[in-house]
Symmetry: C2
Amino acid sequence: MAVSTASSKEPNQASSAYERLEQDILTGHLKPGERLRLKELIVSYNTGNSPMREALSRLSARGIVTREENRGFSVPHATKESLTELLKTRCWIEEIGLRESIANGDNEWEERIVLAFHWLSQSEKSDDLVSGRSPSDLKWSKHHQGFHMALISACNSDILIDFCTQLQGRSFRYFNLAKISKYANRNELEEHRELKDATLERDAELAVSKLKKHYTTTHEILLTSDRFD
Amino acid sequence: MAVSTASSKEPNQASSAYERLEQDILTGHLKPGERLRLKELIVSYNTGNSPMREALSRLSARGIVTREENRGFSVPHATKESLTELLKTRCWIEEIGLRESIANGDNEWEERIVLAFHWLSQSEKSDDLVSGRSPSDLKWSKHHQGFHMALISACNSDILIDFCTQLQGRSFRYFNLAKISKYANRNELEEHRELKDATLERDAELAVSKLKKHYTTTHEILLTSDRFD
DNA sequence: TAACCTAATTTTATCGACAATATGAACACA
DNA sequence: TGTGTTCATATTGTCGATAAAATTAGGTTA
């Protein structure tokens, strides 16, 4: 069982366990369907009964782990069907966030996008193109997620933003599980640039179509993977 | 502190506590901002330390209670601003659910709507119109929620349905906190009927506009309440 | 009086043991 | 061989006590 090493001193053990376990699930280190036995987790993550149980409870409430009453916890299954549902839903909801942001976004919103794109493009360039799964992936992922969140960050609904964060996390897991190099026949930097430009020009229709295209392409690539049930 | 009485034998204490506490928060028996001290809850709900803590953890992960690290849990504040955000977001997301359902719904979906409307109209008629907050309210609420969920139940996204359920729960709390008779100058039965008819006739534009009008009217009524911060 | 420090109290977070439940293996029987 | 039953084991769920952290109250000084 893969385990994240304890990093910075978290406020308390439960939250620390929560974050590390979430990380290990979303990065795909813990495999779909794998059972999460309390006893083993306590050893692996070097914490106690109560904090780990609390972490699992919180994760299950957010759909990051699956729970069966009196039967324990496990890593959610990953099927092509649920991936399709996930991406479809993500398109629906991020479209709203993007349209609202384009309608309401202020200067600071534009700045957030410009900066997020800058860091994304930096990390895309510096990535080495051969070894798809390099250690820098995590950094790229953070920038990628940051960019997409910046786009919708002016929608004036923390609730919607939270939903998008959840969907992003789940998508991230499928991306990692698929084990496909993100450079497979694709110029993501250019896709992101076009998306950024359309957004900053407040061309909602174009921006939304770029966004959907972006996700649809990802979807199609991921579906070629045979790593799902 | 108000407390739900233990009802049917729940699978385990943690889940039972979860549901009862959720109920007491959403019905407004526990007031916004009220601190949820573990010790008191254990006495009130007649359960142990661990199950109650687990219930609180799960509730906080879903935004039903607020948590501050090392400072405990409390009932979320209720402000007019967050109510506005909530209803806005709900309109956005349920619109999607409704449009998708209208596009994809099958016969069973139509049957669910017909039945849900039937029970809703029954409980609306039988409610006595004077005492706004009658014990039958909870029954009406269940039917009301059931009707709105039926409308979107053919959207083919369990994720979206789960989001709608969450938003519905939070809206329900504001409704209860406002303490406004639901018959204030309003014919809800007729609103629901028009919404149902437009939906069953697969007139997406009309149905969506009826839905939004329905929620906007609710919103305006709730905003007249002075029960929020 | 107001600001600040310190100690007592309250409250949250965690631990280790125990109870309840589910799982799996061995065995009897058709 | 296949099916059902019983008992041992493993796993989840709960309890009561303790440790850690925050809050409160009292007292001291300017």
